[in-house]
């Protein structure tokens, strides 16, 4: 297939996905009817969930967005599931993705266990707190906060810069004591780059907030981890991205247990979502080998913003 042909095919796939979403939105409006109609086969929703999460997995990879971030607002906005179960499933989806990437990132020495551990202690403790708060607050309030957060994420994605190798003039005392530094090889040039970090205190304090949000909404937190590690603390982008993903496997573990112990895990929602997203990212990566259409990122961020607005309007009762 030609390059344009491929891009066209992707566009079509995405349009199709939006179509499916809109369709399920319709069904959502008529939820009460659906629930009472026994003629409606039980497997329709899990199947639809599988298809939508599959497309979501592809879109996340092509658009450069975490799967968990897409999952919670879109599924809670367009499926008849209560936000409690969507958050539980979202955490498990993000957790599974992070666990799956973890071994490779650690073995290739891209994720730094040394950098992750102090951060993880803070983030995972506060993710527990966030999960407890998130489950204690009225759904309306969580809905509104979720909407605001999602729109914030969209803005962050549009404006946040990245720095391949940030300039860190001097490692700060904490990071020196903790020996958080390392080397990595710039693969294109073969150059060996020493890295160290600074502003460790400020970074750790921000991870308090990141942890709380991760637990409260069941979103992955890659969108917040990477800027803090990279722009604030000064870790190279490659190390930040990898460490952030690995970090998720720890933060989401703690929050996932709280959701699970509270009863927010319904396997019929969790397993199709997990399989869908993982399968989708698998296929997405294969598609990426051919080309990466820049447009997809805009479509994905647009979809995310739409889902955020929908969450907001649901919470405000419009």
């Amino acid at each position: 297939m030609t390059r344009t042909g491929k891009v066209g095919a992707w566009g079509l796939a995405l349009l199709l996905s939006v179509d499916i979403l809109a369709g399920s939105g319709f069904a959502n409006e008529g939820m009460v009817v659906v629930d009472n109609a026994s003629s409606f086969s039980w497997w329709i929703w899990p199947l639809l969930l599988l298809v939508v999460t599959f497309v979501m997995g592809v879109a996340a990879v092509l658009g450069g967005v975490g799967g968990g971030v897409l999952f919670v607002p879109i599924i809670s906005g367009f499926f008849p599931f209560h936000l409690d179960f969507v958050r539980g499933a979202g955490l498990l989806v993000a957790l599974a993705g992070a666990l799956a990437a973890g071994p490779g990132l650690l073995k290739m020495n891209l994720a730094s266990l040394r950098l992750a551990m102090p951060v993880a202690l803070i983030a995972s403790s506060f993710a527990i707190l966030g999960a407890m708060i998130g489950l204690a607050l009225p759904t309306q309030v969580v809905q509104i906060a979720l909407g605001v957060t999602i729109i914030g994420i969209c803005i962050l994605m549009l404006v946040a810069k990245k720095s391949t190798v940030p300039n860190v003039p001097k490692a700060d005392p904490i990071s020196s004591v903790l020996k958080i530094y390392g080397v990595y090889q710039e693969a294109s040039t073969g150059e060996i780059i020493d890295w160290k970090i600074h502003r460790t205190w400020q970074g750790l304090i921000l991870f308090v907030a990141i942890g709380i949000m991760a637990g409260m909404f069941g979103l992955g937190a890659g969108w917040a981890n990477v800027p803090v590690l990279n722009l604030l603390m000064g870790a190279p982008l490659k190390i930040s991205v990898a460490t952030s993903k690995f970090l998720l496997s720890i933060t989401d573990t703690s929050a996932a247990w709280i959701y699970m112990n509270q009863g927010c895990v319904i396997p019929m929602i969790v397993v199709p979502s997990l399989v869908g997203i993982m399968g989708g990212s698998f296929v997405g990566v294969r598609l990426l080998r051919v080309a990466k259409p820049g447009l997809v990122r805009w479509i994905v961020i647009g979809m995310l913003a739409f889902a955020g607005l929908k969450a907001l309007s649901k919470g405000l009762g419009f």
Binding site: G104, K162, A187, K245, S281, L288, R297
Partner: protein
């Protein structure tokens, strides 16, 4: 009867064999192996070159072995590697793609850059375990049995507790071929 000959008659002395240290990077082992492999190819020509390199620890004790396949698997895991290595590479690609940092994804780098990076792996993380060894005074038939029982192609040979050489499947083949030609 050729097979009643002793292992010691047929072995490749350790001095002629490629060796490396367990803490060396793979790149060093590769160069050492290539040197010996090509010498044998060019020099003795009639017999197969050594396709393995012995891995020694700091006290010169044999701790492992590397063969072509293991080396290639480590250098180009996404092609020669097992399922887990390929899945690992996909996991890494997904992580970088989702962070919109595709250009940093190592599993998408140029072939050359990846090979160079992977050649930096320490030998001890890759080497195969030594499965079976034989004493120099034993006969070739028991060597042959041991090789097939353990599914290996090289057998380290010891004498009085010291590693003195290596017996290769190719040497045994040539011995058996001699029987046929007689």
């Amino acid at each position: 009867m050729p097979l009643t000959r002793k292992v010691t008659d047929l072995l490749v002395p350790i001095g002629d064999y490629a060796v490396t240290n367990e803490d060396s990077p793979l790149s060093e082992a590769i160069l050492a192996l290539r040197k010996v492999y090509c010498q044998v190819e060019v020099g003795k020509c009639t017999e197969a070159g050594h396709r393995n390199i012995l891995v020694l620890d700091s006290r010169k004790h044999l701790v492992g072995i590397l063969d072509f396949r293991t080396i290639l698997r480590a250098l180009i895991p996404e092609i020669a590697g097992g399922l887990t290595q390929r899945l690992e590479a996909i996991g890494v690609s997904v992580a970088f793609a989702q962070a919109d940092s595709l250009d940093l994804d190592e599993s998408r780098l140029s072939f050359q850059a990846r090979v160079i990076k992977n050649a930096d792996t320490k030998v001890k993380h890759l080497m195969l375990k030594v499965r079976g060894l034989i004493q120099a005074q034993e006969d070739l038939l028991s060597a042959l049995k041991l090789m097939y029982a353990n599914n290996i192609t090289v057998l380290p040979v010891y004498e009085n507790g010291d590693l003195i050489g290596v017996l290769r499947e190719s040497d045994l083949f040539l011995t058996v071929a001699d029987i046929v030609s007689n």
